[in-house]
């Protein structure tokens, strides 16, 4: 892809625990196009958050990137040292809204003081200039300027999440990774924040990676979905194909079937029996095989991610 802002090749991120290496991300390649919103979905433990942290070259200990490359804007970030990453990549090119970040604002500093700390570490900015920059970005996320003088406990959950989003944006990165940014919020607040994210994307020419377990939310924001299972990408597919029920991988289809619909009364919800495999020793062959209703003998060999239609790839012997 010529206009890819992020390009990930054969990435592996393992957590080195006392029991052995957990293969959280285990050979993943994809590209994020400029201006695209890429939805990253899958069950807990499928590696979606780990992949997100890899894009800042910042795996949580005891994790380490053991293989592969990541380029952002054409520059390889995995060969950089910590210092250079801090100066040139983190928050400068790629920022992240961490899951639950709204609850990790420090209670003892005003919003303005904590936002300013981030700003000053990256760009020495005179006080009034900093203030107007922060006010501008708070305005963009729909918060009044005096939010800067307030403490986190004075804000609602939705407002705190807006502060976190503003802080991820105000150094104007090219790419923002959002990890479950609306999961802990109430429905109406969630819808309001999704609206804000869509507006910001247009205004700031952002490329987004939107991580969530909730397919219904992805339907609302993602141009394309990457479905992960047990550390691997099993399908990369445009939004309309997934939500018109034409995804190809059985896992993607089962995830969609397990997502409740409001305007459709069903007598039984579908679910995916069983649990994902232990990533200390990933199984051979197709990793979804044990839970797959259409598995057959060929699945003993791992299916590669192949194109099934233009812009649509899947790793399943039954596809294409």
């Amino acid at each position: 892809m010529a206009d890819a802002v992020v390009s990930v090749r054969d990435l592996a991120l393992h957590y080195f625990t006392r029991r052995g290496a957990v293969h959280a991300v285990d050979g993943v390649s994809f590209e994020l196009a400029r201006g695209e919103t890429l939805g990253l979905v899958g069950e807990s433990g499928c590696g979606k958050t780990s992949l997100g942290t890899a894009l800042l070259a910042m795996p949580a200990p005891p994790g380490r990137i053991v293989q592969g490359s990541i380029t952002v804007d054409g520059i390889g970030i995995l060969t950089m040292g910590e210092d250079e990453l801090r100066r040139r990549v983190r928050w400068e090119k790629v920022s992240m809204v961490f899951q639950g970040a709204m609850n990790s604002l420090t209670p003892v500093l005003t919003v303005g003081k904590q936002m300013n700390q981030t700003l000053q570490r990256h760009r020495r900015t005179p006080r009034n200039e900093a203030r107007s920059l922060m006010e501008r970005f708070l305005g963009m996320v729909g918060l009044p300027a005096d939010t800067l003088d307030r403490y986190p406990h004075e804000l609602s959950g939705g407002m705190k999440q807006r502060v976190v989003i503003a802080t991820a944006l105000f150094l104007e990165p090219r790419v923002v990774v959002m990890d479950e940014p609306t999961t802990a919020l109430d429905v109406i607040v969630q819808a309001q924040i999704l609206n804000t994210i869509k507006e910001l994307k247009k205004e700031l020419d952002l490329s987004l990676i939107f991580i969530t377990h909730d397919l219904a939310t992805e339907a609302e924001v993602a141009d394309r979905l990457i479905v992960m299972y047990a550390g691997r990408i099993v399908e990369s597919v445009p939004n309309e194909i997934v939500f018109s029920g034409k995804a190809c991988h059985p896992y993607t289809r089962m995830l969609l079937a397990a997502t409740p619909r409001l305007h459709e009364k069903v007598s039984d919800l579908a679910f995916i029996p069983g649990a994902p495999p232990d990533l200390l020793s990933p199984p051979s062959g197709c990793r979804f095989r044990a839970r797959c209703p259409v598995a057959f003998d060929r699945c003993a060999a791992e299916p590669p991610l192949r194109e099934v239609a233009p812009g649509h790839t899947a790793a399943c012997w039954r596809c294409g």
Binding site: V187, V189, V221, L255, L262, H263, K265, D268, L269, F271
Partner: protein, 329 residues
């Protein structure tokens, strides 16, 4: 209408619970006059956003906290104030499933002990052998099979879904008539969530249980419940069949709530949604005068602000809403 219905299993009238805030001493009107019935074998959903009082209502119904005002009747008997032994008898008949399956179980108890505890508290089961039978029966009912695989496990050896199954088994073991479930699946992974809900629905149907299902998730509520009550800042603003409330909402708050839910269908990506609501939820220490929803309502008039608060009134058969303008909007 009401006269035709059999006596409800649970009947709550004008229930209120006010708290004093620890700092400043402001009066928090968490639950502020709530009335509803739950019939035998019926699942009533209590939905609303954080702080609307749905959890407090559940705790009041379970008699975990005393109400400031109002009455609770169970099987026709007033149990609002009752003796300890009456309360103990009530708790055998009404059980609770909590939100967090990690916090609701003693980490030092094996599954067997978790399930045996209610039996010994209520002195149910003649001896060791009978109790063991009951424990195994309850595990089988929530599909933790073969039961021997689970009896000796500690909670940390179970997944979130398995824990919630154990919690359900624990609440069923005393053969209750009513279960109060507060967000029972919100902490469980999506693929398992549907499985747990289906299991609970199956048990509910098989036993003819009544359920008070408390959640912020309108979609699962639609699946799980027969009737829905929508709470807003301490009050029920709309109540009716799950289908009426979701497909034909009358109250502007319910309309906004339903509209805000994301659906897994194509076509949402490029649109900014009109949410038909403004502002944020007010604090339960400063509930707006008149209709408590008026500051956020896009249809509000001076009447909504000045006149006394609208009460629930019929908008259709078995469907009520607390809005004086529902016909015009």
């Amino acid at each position: 209408m009401a006269a035709e219905l059999p006596q409800p299993l649970l009947s709550v009238s004008n229930l209120a619970r006010h708290f004093r805030a620890r700092l400043g001493g402001a009066l928090v009107r968490a639950v502020d006059g709530v009335s509803f019935d739950v019939q035998r074998g019926e699942v009533l959903g209590l939905i609303g956003e954080s702080g609307c009082g749905k959890t407090t209502t559940g705790r009041l119904v379970m008699k975990l906290i005393p109400p400031t005002a109002g009455r609770i009747r169970f099987e026709g008997r007033d149990i609002t104030e009752c003796t300890r032994s009456e309360a103990a008898a009530y708790r055998r008949r009404a059980q609770m499933i909590f939100q967090d399956p990690y916090a609701s179980m003693n980490p030092r108890f094996r599954v067997r002990d978790v399930l045996r505890e209610p039996l010994s508290i209520h002195r149910v089961g003649a001896g060791r052998k009978e109790r063991e039978e009951m424990v195994r029966g309850a595990l089988a009912e929530v599909k933790l099979l073969p039961t021997e695989d689970y009896l000796d496990r500690f909670p940390h050896m179970l997944s979130g879904g398995q824990r919630q199954r154990v919690a359900t088994a624990r609440s069923l073991i005393l053969s209750p008539l009513l279960l109060v479930a507060d967000e029972p699946v919100s902490m469980i992974d999506l693929s398992t969530r549907a499985e747990i809900l289906s299991m609970m629905r199956e048990v509910q149907r098989a036993r003819g249980l009544s359920f008070l299902y408390i959640t912020h998730d309108v979609s699962t509520a639609r699946f799980f419940t027969d009737r829905l009550a929508v709470m807003y800042v301490g009050r029920i603003v709309e109540i009716g069949s799950a289908e009426d409330v979701v497909e034909r909402p009358a109250h502007p708050y319910t309309r906004a709530l339903v509209k805000a839910v994301c659906e897994p269908s194509p076509g949402g990506v490029r649109t900014i949604r009109d949410l038909a609501i403004r502002g944020e939820i007010p604090s339960p220490t400063a509930i707006p005068s008149g209709c408590r929803f008026h500051p956020r309502c896009i249809f509000a008039t001076a009447d909504c602000r000045m006149l006394p608060e609208p009460v629930l009134s019929d908008v259709g058969p078995g469907h009520q809403a607390a809005c004086r303008r529902w016909k015009e909007i």
